[in-house]
């Protein structure tokens, strides 16, 4: 993955619009957050291989970036995106890595299902 280039990532988001795609969306503080800091309220969410179709995908040029997908009946968005890659299987992998290199958020888009 490399750091977000807004124009390049916008073109990739456009390329998946109006197609049936599989989504991986994840936010996380890690399972140990409340172990290291007992005052920490640990929350996160995870969906994987949910199939949807978006009519408009947009990245906002404000780092760390926000990426939103407008669907026929709703929305998907991720906040804190720093890195991206179109992998060898043609999947668009976006992630927000914190200052120590730990993943805090991920949004991935693929025309084929992700592994289990």
């Amino acid at each position: 993955m490399k750091e977000v280039n807004t124009q390049e990532l916008q073109e990739l988001l456009n390329s998946f619009a109006n197609k049936d795609v599989f989504i991986h969306l994840e936010t996380t503080n890690g399972s140990y957050a409340a172990h290291y800091d007992e005052k920490f309220f640990n929350a996160g969410a995870f969906i994987r291989n949910v199939k949807l179709r978006y009519e408009l995908g947009k990245i906002v040029d404000d780092a760390p970036h926000r990426v939103g997908l407008k669907l026929e009946h709703g929305w998907v968005y991720a906040q804190g995106i720093t890195h991206f890659k179109l992998d060898t299987e043609g999947r668009l992998l976006m992630a927000g890595l914190d200052y120590t290199g730990k993943l805090a958020v991920a949004l991935e888009i693929s025309e084929t299902p992700f592994a289990y």
Binding site: M1, K2, H24, E26, T28, G30, S31, Y32, H35, E38, F46, T82, H83, K85, D87, R91, L93, A95, L97, D98, Y99, T100, G101, K102, L103, A104, A106, E108, F114, A115, Y116
Partner: protein, 225 residues
């Protein structure tokens, strides 16, 4: 404490690297005694957070990296029977409980272990650790009392000592410390930062009293019936 001979040792943990932190030294000592050891690793740590910055992996490539690290760590520990059980990181507690018990029961029936190493329920911090421990304990609880393997469990929640006291079983692993370090180093995606910090402290001439390189501590899990 010196380790006693065992018929077969079964290690059950959910993530590649759980075994390196928890039992690498103990396992290496068993292997040096020619005791057979099977490690059932339930997931490939697919949801690990550390991808580096700049990143060395993606969410999708991490499992392959961690599989290779796990194989290398097992080589360092002398584990020849590694079972990768194919579950997904952070989902074990949401699996069907009976399926999880059956998974452990099948391993016990096949291997007939005399002791199982896993986590201690209630004091294992990570939801996958807790779910793994519950499955192991339920599988053993269902066995006839006289046929049950012993369960030696790792507990590291912050309130462990307060609630259940100091670990009664302390294995001195200093003789195999280098092998434990190798096992930890094998899990580089997870441990590189920590290992670099430790090496720097050694280079700085600090006397390391890190207990995790000198001893491994276990709580026997006992049943009331």
């Amino acid at each position: 404490m010196t380790l006693q001979e065992e018929r077969h040792v079964l290690v059950v943990y959910p993530h590649p690297d759980d075994e390196a932190f928890s039992v690498a030294g103990t396992v290496r000592m068993y292997r040096n005694m020619a005791v057979p050891v099977t490690y059932a690793c339930l997931t490939l740590g697919e949801m690990g957070r550390n991808l580096g910055n700049p990143p060395f992996a993606t969410r999708e490539s991490l499992p392959d990296i961690r599989r290779q690290e796990l194989v290398a760590a097992c080589a360092a520990m002398g584990i020849e029977d590694l079972r990768m059980m194919g579950l997904r990181d952070k989902t074990i507690e949401f699996e069907d409980d009976e399926k999880m018990v059956k998974l452990v029961t099948n391993l016990i029936e096949e291997l007939n272990p005399s002791v199982i190493y896993t986590f201690f329920p209630g004091f294992a911090v990570h939801p996958d650790h807790e779910a793994t421990a519950r499955a192991v304990i339920e599988a053993v609880r269902r066995m006839p009392k006289e046929a049950r393997p012993r369960i030696l469990a790792v507990a590291f929640a912050n309130d462990t000592v307060e609630k259940i006291g100091e670990a009664p079983i302390v294995v001195d692993i200093r003789s195999v410390k280098d092998d434990k370090i190798k096992a930890l180093q094998a899990h580089a995606s997870q441990t590189a930062w920590m290992m670099a910090e430790t090496e720097k402290r050694i280079d700085d001439g600090e006397v390391l009293s890190d207990s995790w390189l000198n001893v491994e501590k276990f709580y026997p899990f006992t049943f009331e019936d």
